[in-house]
Each structure stands twice: as C-alpha cells, then as structure tokens.
Amino acid sequence: MTTAISTEAPTSAPVPREPDLLYRLYRTMYLIRAFEQKIDALRTSGQQQGSAHLYVGQEAVATGVCARLNAADYVASTHRGHGHAIGKGVDVARMMAELYGRATGTNKGKGGSMHIADTKVGMLGATGIVGAGTPIALGAALSSKTRKTQQVAVAFFGDGAMGQGPVYECMNMASIWKLPMIFVCENNGYAESTSAEYALSTRDLARRAAAFEMPAHVVDGQDVFDVYARAGEAVERARAAEGPTFLECKTYRYYGHFLGDDPLRYRTKDEEAYYRSRDCIERFEHTIREESLLTDRELEAIREEVNATIERAVEFAEQSPLPDVAELTTEVLA
C-alpha cells in the first residue's frame, strides 16, 4: 500500500522480478537481521560491552533504499544505524570489530555502534543526536550539485526527528536549491518510549514534507518492493536535478529503543504481534514462493552464506587487537 500525499505519481511502478535483484534484496535484509541478532546474543551474554539500538523489523527500508544507490552516493544515518551501514555496503567484519572496540573497526574501535562510518562506500556516519544526520546529508547533496557529480545523498531519520528544527531547515534548503537528496523518514511509531500517535500532530508525516513543495509519499516500510519502487523514483528525480523527495516509511522496531529496554512498558503484545505478522523477510519469502521466483533451496543457500559471513566477522573481531594507547589522542577533537 502506498499513499501519495503529493499529486504526482499516485502509484509506483511494479518492481521487475529480476533474479539478481531478488537475491540482493533478500541477502541484504537477512544480513542486517542476522548481524543484529548476533549483536543481541553477544551483548546479552556479555561478550560485547554496552548497549546498541537494533534495527530488526525495519530491514526493508535500508535495503530497498540502498539497493537504488551506487557506491559513490551518500547516506547519513541515525543512532539505529547498522542497517543503513550494511545496506550501503560497509564490511560487516569491520563493523563487528568496531562494536568490539577493536583497532580494525570502521572507526578504529573508537566510535562504537553509534558512530559507524565508512566514507569509502559513502556511509557518512551514524550519530547519537536525533536528526543530526540530515544536515550532513544536505551538505553532501550540495557538494554533489556544486561539483556536478550526480551523486545522491540520503538522510535517514525517524519519527522522533520530525520534532527537530534542523530537519525542516534541510527540507526547505533542499527544495529551494533543488538538491539531489532523499529524505527517508522511518516512522517506527516510537520516539524512545513516546508513541507517534500521542506526540505528533499528524498521522502521516509526509504531509508536512509536502508543504516544502517536494514529492512526499507514505510507503509501506515493511514491504521491500514498495520501498524499492519509491526510492527508484526519488533517485531518478535527484539525478535529473529535479530536487528532493520525502519518503515516510511506516515500519516497526521489534526490540526496544535500545538493548535492555523492555518495550512492553509502553506498547502492547497485540500491537507487536500485528507488525510481526507483516514481517518484511517473511513477506518477501511468501511472494517469492507464490510467484515461484527462487526456490526454497536458493533462499536457504543465501541464509547459510550470510550466517557464515557473520561467524567470520565475529572471529575477525575477536582476533583483532585493541587500539594502541597512543590512539587515544589521534583523530579526536575536543
């Protein structure tokens, strides 16, 4: 289900069922989930320290959007950023090492979960500050336009960030300067423990973006095909120098706000069950079976390869050294 808020392009074109694309979409969604579930296991058992904000449930959004991007394109992420990093092609072994605080990590072990960045693949970084990735993506979009490089910049943010002023400043600037930018609002229904239905004046956040004179769509964020279709239109528009697009992807996080948070203190089991019944990976598998696109055996092979990749990532991280003490004062600003 897609609802167009703007008057343009009321429905998205169907996604061609090309085997290569199906393989990529499934593998990325499953890789994100397997990575996150491994983090849960490692942190619960104490093998890895600290908390993390898990992306499980929202995989279709990062996957569908990033599948439309090239390596040279940019994404700026959030505190819940592992999915965006994986979608953009950051090596999961280096991500795992970062989460272990090892020297081989994406940020030499000094950033951790909320600062994962890898500019070589256009991942500009996660951030602990709600909405703070958006101005960074705007800057990247402006640089692309100035240098005429055709690169697209995507800002991922959540429903909570729709309460942050800079997000609106960015929407305005992207619109007046026709920047090659995509605003991807992952509305997972909760800003920490506060529900969107209580805290936001409008049910569909895309309505707010439409006021900035850009195409704004409500997208089923638990349907990777819907996300992929809308992201495709947005990328095409950005590359054609026609300006930004806003996609409000309705989704759900299965875990709490952070690992250790019990979401049943603020939401019901029935609600969780409803969203789990619309799980993006299961729905993808269902479609694949219904349309006989890939065999169960092919899907199984993808899952096995991913599971082995995750195991190798853990091994790599655990065998990597801790950062040298001298690293304490390098690449740190204070």
Binding site: A191, S193, T194, Y198, A199, R265, R267
Partner: protein
C-alpha cells in the same frame, strides 16, 4: 547534612522539591515519563526519562483529565 546519592536521584529530588514548593512550576520535555497518552492501555511512567531522573514525578504532578497539567510529557 550531606548524603551520598546518584546524580539522577538528586536531580529527581530537586525537581520534586521545587515543584512541591512552587505550584507555578511546570516540567516540559520529550519522553520524561514515557508511554505518554497511554494510561488507557495501562501504561504510565514507562521510563521516568532514559536516565530515570524524572521517575515518579508524572504520577505526583499530573492532574488527570487536564489538558494543561503541570507535567507536560
């Protein structure tokens, strides 16, 4: 008299004392109680803020049914 207590607890007590002393004080913030608007589902004060520094204040200072209560979550 000095006491040793967690900073979050000290913060909680200081806010409570001031709000008890001065009825014109309101508290305003995002997620300072948690589960805002969900009393009908049985959820009140889910978090007391991510650091629990406002735990319990919502029960003490919200006047139920009022749209202009002193604890604006």
């Amino acid at each position: 008299m000095t006491r040793e207590l967690l900073a979050s607890r000290a913060e909680n007590e200081a806010i409570r004392h001031e709000m008890e002393r001065d009825p014109s004080i309101i508290m305003l913030g995002e997620d300072i109680a948690g589960a805002a608007g969900r009393a009908h589902l049985g959820f009140v004060d889910a978090w007391g803020g991510p650091m629990r520094s406002t735990k319990g204040l919502v029960q003490q200072f919200v006047r139920s049914g009022s749209s202009t209560h002193r604890f604006v979550k």
